[in-house]
C-alpha cells in the first residue's frame, strides 16, 4: 500500500503545477465576460439599457401629457417649439408618446415572449423528456397551432377576446408557443440521452430532479437566444395586429399602434410612422446584436 500512496501524492503535486491558475468561474459568468468583449453585443446592451431607462423614467421626465389632445396643433413637424419631435394627428406630443409607448411596447414584447417561453418550455420538456404518448399528443397540438396561420390565429383570438393590449399580447404569445416548444423538445430529446443524464439516473435521481437540475439549465441557452430575437418579432407582430385594428386601446401610446395609425399620414406627416418605426428598429437591432452575442458566448464550441 505504501508505494502506491506516495505515487498518488506525487501525481497530485504535479497536478497543481500543470493546472492553469484560473479564477473559479461560473459558466454564466464566463459567458458574460466573453460577452463583455463583444463590441456589437455591448453596443446592443447599452442601447437597450438607455432605451429601458428612458421609458422607465417616463413618469419623472419633463414630458407633456402623452394623451393630452390639442387639435389646434396637430401634425406639427419635428423640431416644433415645445414639441421636439412634433405632434400627431390629435396634437399629442410625439416624443412623449414615443417614450410612454415604449413602456407598453417593450413590456408587450417581453411579456409575450415570457408567456410563450414558459408554456412552450413546459410543453417541449414534457414532450421531449417523457416521449411516447405525451410527445405524440403535444407535438400534434403544436403542429395544429403551426398550421394555423398566425395572423389569423391572432385575429381570431383578438376577435374573440376583444381588441386590447392584453389580448393582443396573449394572441402573439400563443403564436410563439410552438417555436419554443420545438426548440425545447429538441434539446430535451438530446439531453435526455446524454451521458450525464444517464449518470444521474444511475445515481438514483428522479425525473423531477433531472428535469429541474439538468435538463432545464441546459435548454436555457438556445432559448435565451431565441427569446432575445423574438422580443422584436413580438413587438412587430403586435404592430401588425394594430394595423388590422386589433391592437392597444387608444389613447394609450404603443409603438405598433402609432406606426399603423401614422401610416395613414405617411404623405402629409411621415414622421408619425417613421419615428415609432425607428424606435422598434432600435429595440430589435439592439436585441439582435445582443442575441447574436449571446449565441456566440453560450455556444460551448466558441472560444
Amino acid at each position: 500500500m505504501e508505494p502506491q500512496q506516495t505515487q498518488l501524492q506525487a501525481e497530485n503535486q504535479t497536478k497543481n503545477i500543470s493546472l492553469p491558475k484560473q479564477k473559479r468561474k461560473n459558466p454564466w459568468k464566463v459567458a458574460m465576460r466573453k460577452l463583455a468583449r463583444d463590441k456589437a453585443a455591448m453596443f446592443g446592451l447599452a442601447m437597450l439599457f438607455v432605451i429601458s431607462v428612458t421609458v422607465i423614467l417616463a413618469p419623472v421626465l419633463p414630458l407633456p401629457d402623452p394623451v393630452e389632445v390639442d387639435l389646434a396643433n396637430r401634425l406639427q413637424p419635428i423640431g416644433t417649439e415645445g414639441h421636439l419631435l412634433g405632434t400627431d394627428d390629435l396634437g399629442r406630443d410625439l416624443l412623449s408618446r414615443l417614450i410612454w409607448g415604449g413602456r407598453v411596447s417593450i413590456a408587450v414584447g417581453f411579456i409575450a415572449v415570457g408567456i410563450a417561453l414558459v408554456f412552450g418550455t413546459i410543453l417541449g420538456l414534457i414532450a421531449g423528456y417523457f416521449q411516447k404518448f405525451f410527445d405524440t399528443v403535444i407535438m400534434r397540438f403544436i403542429d395544429i397551432l403551426m398550421a394555423f396561420p398566425y395572423v389569423l390565429l391572432a385575429i381570431a383570438i383578438v376577435a374573440a377576446l376583444g381588441p386590447g393590449l392584453m389580448n393582443t399580447m396573449i394572441a402573439v404569445s400563443i403564436v410563439g408557443i410552438p417555436y419554443y416548444a420545438r426548440i425545447v423538445r429538441g434539446s430535451a430529446l438530446m439531453f435526455r440521452n446524454m451521458e450525464f443524464v444517464v449518470a444521474e439516473r444511475a445515481l438514483g435521481a428522479g425525473h423531477g430532479h433531472i428535469l429541474v437540475h439538468h435538463i432545464i439549465p441546459n435548454c436555457l441557452p438556445p432559448l435565451i437566444v431565441a427569446a432575445s430575437l423574438d422580443v422584436g418579432w413580438m413587438i412587430l407582430a403586435a404592430a401588425g395586429m394594430s394595423f388590422i385594428g386589433l391592437g392597444a386601446q387608444p389613447p394609450m401610446a404603443e409603438w405598433g399602434v402609432m406606426l399603423s395609425e401614422g401610416q395613414q399620414f405617411i404623405r402629409v406627416a411621415p414622421h408619425l410612422s417613421l419615428l415609432p418605426g425607428a424606435a422598434i428598429f432600435l429595440v430589435v437591432l439592439s436585441l439582435n446584436l445582443l442575441g447574436d452575442g449571446l449565441r456566440d458566448v453560450l455556444d460551448p464550441k466558441s472560444k
Partner: protein, 327 residues
C-alpha cells in the same frame, strides 16, 4: 539527395483573445520519398496542425504560420507559392487522410462524386474515365462491389469501408506524399489491422511517402520506418523505429513506452507519467516536459534544449544528452 518534404523551424500560431499564441514551434523534420514516417505524441501536441500546415489548410481567419518557417516539398517552397499553385499540389502531389472517416466524407454527396471531382481536378480524364479510375481505386483498397458502392452515400458504409474510401481517394492521383492523420483511431482493432496492412501494401505498390500520424506507439512499431515524437508542440525525439523502441533516449519517449499496458509482458502496475500536458498559453519556460520529467535538472527549467544528433538517424532534444552529440 534532398528530402521529398523538408520542414524547418515550423511555428504555428493560433489567435486566442486577439493575440497569436504559438502552439507548435521549432519543428524540424523531413520525409524522404517512399518512406513511412510516424509522428507520435499525446493529444493536443500539435500533430494535426503540423500536417495541416503542410497541406496549407490551417484555418486562415485565426491561425498562421510564422514568417521564419520553411516548408519545401518536391523542390517547391510551400510557404511562398500562391493559393492556386497550392491547389494544384493538393490532392495531386500530396494528399491527406483524416482521422474520423464519418465526418471527413461529405454526407450528402456520393462516394463516386467525391472521388471523381478530385480526379477531374488533377487529370485530363473524361467523366467516364474518372469513374472507371475511381472504381479501380476502390477495388485496389479491397472494397467489395465497388461498382455499386461508388453510387452510395457515406452513411451507407461502415467505418472501415469509409476509411478505405478515403485512402482510395487520397491515392487516386498517385501522390508523392500521403499524410495520414490518425487514420485508424476511430476504428476497431481488427479493422485497424486491415487498414494498416492496406496502407503499407499500397505504399510499397505506389512508392508513396507516408507521414503517419498516430498516438499509438504500437501502430508505429508495426508499420513505420522512422518516428518523430512530439510533445507540447515540439519535436523531442526523432529516430528509426528500432532505435525508438529499443533505445529510446528522451524521458518522455521512455515514459510513454512504460505507461502502455502490454499484451506480451505482465506488469503489476503501469508506470504513468505524472501530470498533464501544459496548455499552449501556459508553456513552461524551459523544457516543456520538465514539470513532468523524472530526470528534471536545473538546466531544464532554465531554457529549452536544442536538437542533438545522437546518431546518423537519431535526434533528441534533451539536456541529458548535452554532451553526447555526434558530429
Amino acid at each position: 539527395m534532398t528530402a521529398l518534404l523538408q520542414v524547418e523551424n515550423l511555428e504555428i500560431l493560433f489567435k486566442k483573445e486577439q493575440q497569436y499564441v504559438s502552439t507548435v514551434s521549432g519543428v524540424h523534420f523531413h520525409v524522404d520519398s517512399g518512406e513511412m514516417v510516424g509522428i507520435v505524441g499525446e493529444s493536443g501536441c500539435g500533430k494535426s496542425v503540423t500536417s495541416l500546415s503542410i497541406m496549407g489548410l490551417l484555418p486562415k481567419d485565426f491561425s498562421k504560420v510564422s514568417q521564419n518557417t520553411k516548408i519545401h516539398f518536391n523542390g517547391k517552397s510551400l510557404t511562398e507559392i500562391t493559393e492556386k499553385e497550392y491547389r494544384k499540389i493538393r490532392g495531386n502531389d500530396m494528399s491527406m487522410i483524416f482521422q474520423d472517416p464519418m465526418s471527413s466524407l461529405n454526407p450528402v454527396l456520393t462516394i463516386g462524386y467525391q472521388m471523381n471531382e478530385m480526379i477531374l481536378a488533377h487529370t485530363k480524364l473524361s467523366k467516364k474515365e474518372a469513374r472507371k479510375k475511381a472504381i479501380n481505386m476502390l477495388e485496389k483498397v479491397r472494397i467489395p462491389r465497388a461498382e455499386k458502392i461508388i453510387d452510395e452515400y457515406p452513411h451507407q458504409l461502415s467505418g472501415g469501408m469509409r476509411q478505405r474510401v478515403m485512402i482510395a481517394m487520397a491515392l487516386s492521383c498517385n501522390p508523392k506524399l500521403l499524410i495520414a492523420d490518425e487514420p485508424t483511431t476511430a476504428l476497431d482493432v481488427t479493422i485497424q489491422a486491415q487498414i494498416l496492412n492496406l496502407i503499407k501494401g499500397l505504399q510499397k505498390e505506389f512508392n508513396t511517402a507516408v507521414m503517419l500520424i498516430t498516438h499509438d506507439l504500437g501502430v508505429v512499431a508495426e508499420v513505420c520506418d522512422r518516428v518523430v515524437v512530439m510533445y507540447a508542440g515540439k519535436v523531442v525525439e526523432e529516430a528509426s523505429v528500432d532505435e525508438i523502441f529499443n533505445a529510446p533516449k528522451h524521458p518522455y519517449t521512455i515514459g510513454l513506452l512504460n505507461s502502455m499496458p502490454s499484451l506480451t509482458d505482465e506488469k503489476d502496475r503501469l508506470e504513468a507519467i505524472p501530470g498533464a500536458v501544459p496548455l499552449p498559453e501556459e508553456m513552461p519556460k524551459g523544457c516543456r516536459f520538465a514539470p513532468r520529467c523524472s530526470e528534471v535538472m536545473d538546466a531544464c527549467l532554465e531554457s529549452a534544449p536544442e536538437k542533438r544528433m545522437l546518431s546518423s538517424s537519431h535526434y533528441c532534444s534533451c539536456w541529458l544528452y548535452e554532451e553526447e552529440e555526434v558530429g
